[in-house]
Symmetry: C2
Subunit: 388 residues, 2 copies
Amino acid sequence: MRDVAIIGVGLTKFGELWDKSFRQLITEAGSKAIFDAGIEGKEIDAMYVGSMSSGRFIGQEHVGALVAEASGFSHLHIPSTRVEGACASGSLAAREGFLSIASGINDIVVVGGIEKMNDVAGASATETLATAADQEWEAFFGATFPALYAMIATKHMHDYGTTKEQLAKVAVKNHDNGTLNPYAQYRRKITVEQAMNSSPVAYPLGLLDCSPVTDGAASIVLCAAEKAKEYTDKPIKIIGSGQASDTLSLHARRDICTVDSTVFASKMAYKQANVTPDDIDLAEVHDCFTIAEICAIEDLGFVKKGDGGKAVDEKITTLDGSKPVNTSGGLKSKGHPVGATGVAQMVEITKQLRGEAEQRQIKNAKIGLTHNVGGSGATCVVHIMEAM
Amino acid sequence: MRDVAIIGVGLTKFGELWDKSFRQLITEAGSKAIFDAGIEGKEIDAMYVGSMSSGRFIGQEHVGALVAEASGFSHLHIPSTRVEGACASGSLAAREGFLSIASGINDIVVVGGIEKMNDVAGASATETLATAADQEWEAFFGATFPALYAMIATKHMHDYGTTKEQLAKVAVKNHDNGTLNPYAQYRRKITVEQAMNSSPVAYPLGLLDCSPVTDGAASIVLCAAEKAKEYTDKPIKIIGSGQASDTLSLHARRDICTVDSTVFASKMAYKQANVTPDDIDLAEVHDCFTIAEICAIEDLGFVKKGDGGKAVDEKITTLDGSKPVNTSGGLKSKGHPVGATGVAQMVEITKQLRGEAEQRQIKNAKIGLTHNVGGSGATCVVHIMEAM
């Protein structure tokens, strides 16, 4: 199995982009990544695209081919494949690109992640997002994601004494970080009081506990590690890639406060990378709701199960804490264009490990981790990266 | 790069299966393949699922995780990934499974393909299928797939003198073959006269030139070739896997009668397998419409460009011809549950190369090919297989 490195990254601004189409967004992110890598189209062996529900959002399936064409590479007939795993689609696309290079079939692969969620026809974003839950056992009965994560939050409060204030502090921290990220959807600070008093969505989650509906795209260029230095002085090696599944519906799990797919995917990635949670200098984790970040830092092994809320009180996960989490602003403040999120997380870690994260730069960052979840945790993908 | 072999196959009956759900279909195909391979759940390293539009057909995205759960493997947390490339989704899933074993990460991978197209909510099958075309340039203006393939057919008639009778003969042949396949949707012969006089859909295509709307699932178990003989005496090695893209919309192509993605994907597969079109003993090709089979046998290099119609007249592609095509009955008679089709093609070739194709067995079949197209050819995947 060959080693794989990231040699280029690109992002669009995240937000309500009423004047930009699906084609425009993915082309912008992709061309930025290709330019950053300094490659030509003819060097690209394959493309992978993560998108959760282009079929419902914009009435367009088959977006792998669309992206190859929109990028201007139709004449090259580059293989292009869409991968879907709900909100983990972006990381799944990255993982497939990684495997295709590891196999020896490809040398250079462009990975894109995208979702166009505003200015769309048909069903509401919330209704389409609910197709990532179990349609027969959850969505059909009205259990949308805020409701599902609210159940996780109440159970976590019951089992571990986690408080609504600790949830609020996650949002406050991520908004603080988002102010430092020019690509973030919300670049304004919020207070704990504002977060705690924001409009109720599903108790205990208020509006400011929830990630927003976002348009955006992200892209990375992957390269066989042995060739990466031909393109960049700062290749970022993917030293671990883990993926795991769990039941689609929440009720069938042994414990709704533990996302087993996170536990298993991270174990797989730690083992491959030959590191422990203590070796991780910073992480981008899947904070689709504030409670999700608390579960994530526990299930990734950064803190003991149940100590996630306390870790937030102790500021362990802030920019100058011992384990900075969501330096980009996370899904909460940076925005959550679902298919793009996993790739965007890898863009942030790449920038941090290159030392290019400007005002939000973590000093001496050597090893970073991304954690991307589909649905309420039926899919999880973890990547661990290190500067070469 | 490691070699990969097929060690198990499974199919559901194809048809209008009003009494079977998505979960039931994929579980049936998957468990048959797993039983055929003689493996246990704990031996499975990963799963890949090809499905074109579960989000629109059954309101369920995230079907990778759903399939892992429905198979009863939730407790094993097996990574499970959905792959989509319109009607080529099944072959794309197989290709990703193939790459994941070739990379050395996985040893045993279960691949499933599925579509539930009848008894569905929301938009019509034709409307959802049109999301595989270019929404902005084609589907929005009412150009559904019968219309697009009708344009290809009229151009082929104009350029090469192909006749409506030759199109009809493709349907007649595939129905002949379908009568011999217990899994086929339509197991009855039709006549050339019936096909030529069937209700017009889009000139020159009549109802009997079109593949049907089908429910069904198919599954294969892939294994590192070096371990395949531990499970079966008759492993079928995948000696070539090719994939290529073209423009999503028809109008942007250099020649709508040539599917360049087929040309490029098959060249890639022939090169990897180190064979020529003459070495192929039989093929399953993507006959979503009769004209598509004629283009396919040309673009795969079985006959010269423009000679596809003549080849049908000369019965080259019948069961006892020199190059049997669609021994299963093809999409026309076996049925076309879009996400399942590519996997089902690989099931047929596996059965043929094992000598288990019963009444439709091709004698001395050594090397077989599958050809699976997404949309009007924006994606094509070709696999070449050989008995080990």
